[in-house]
Symmetry: C2
Subunit: 125 residues, 2 copies
DNA sequence: TCTTCTGTTATATAAAATATAACACAACTA
DNA sequence: TAGTTGTGTTATATTTTATATAACAGAAGA
């Protein structure tokens, strides 16, 4: 998977990294049990500090996307409470859709976007 | 409109405030041309610093949700490029839905959430 | 045993969020 | 018209967060 970081973005580097990896799991670029690159390797590839990658991995661990093993590194292991995730997602959607609604983006347009995105994510269904 | 701030959240105060106001516009708690409370008044009501409210208003101005008048304060005036908004929303949805997909939340469940949220936002349609 | 790979920890620096205080301008009021 | 009060603005300081540098500790493999 190609991880792309935008250095001009106002989003923190470790947040961008976290997002890309979560998308990577959703698009099956990363599979359950697979190891992510080591913090040094990834930091080197991207051209950022090792500790920034480490922070992204720590967040992913806290959120339940990976398990970190001192020997093997960060292993994909999704363990998230469904109901809680559903609640969080609803809150996040409320914010995103509010902006959409203000801009006269219709419900149907949003549905279309969802379908578009799920073509990449939910390929097995 | 009741603006609720979570002081335990890891989200910056001004971001929470910005989100609540955008949701307020979407739910028609605030209407085009209406003035938001003054920075001091709102800061006092919520119990945060005036400058934090000011930052939220500045962000809303940059994003095209309000116009700030030195005399009258912040006035709701939505002026956002639709195509650009659509792009941004898609990017944001990708991140939110990736998490959902990892948690086995189906496309149909997301559609249902969208409909639920749009009941509050798109009441005129 | 030595080298090399992992993540971790400690510390320092840079950037961003929040707070305090003084300012400038306009509107209202007496 | 002078004074008071309401706006947002600006300057500055403080606190918190993000990022960077360097040394560490444990495990794997030659």
């Amino acid at each position: 998977m190609v991880i792309e970081i935008d250095f001009n973005s106002d989003e923190a580097l470790y947040v961008q990294l976290r997002n890309q990896i979560v998308i990577g799991i959703a698009t099956r670029s990363f599979h359950e049990g697979e190891a992510l690159p080591s913090v040094r390797q990834l930091a080197d590839t991207i051209g950022i500090n090792m500790h920034t990658v480490n922070k992204a991995y720590t967040v992913l661990k806290q959120e339940g996307f990976v398990k970190v093993d001192r020997r093997k590194g960060a292993i994909i292991a999704v363990d998230i409470d469904r109901l809680r995730a559903l609640e969080e997602i609803k809150k996040e959607l409320q914010v995103v859709l509010a902006k959409g609604s203000c801009t006269d983006i219709s419900k149907e347009e949003v549905h279309a976007l969802i379908d578009e995105i799920y073509e990449d994510y939910g390929g097995l269904e």
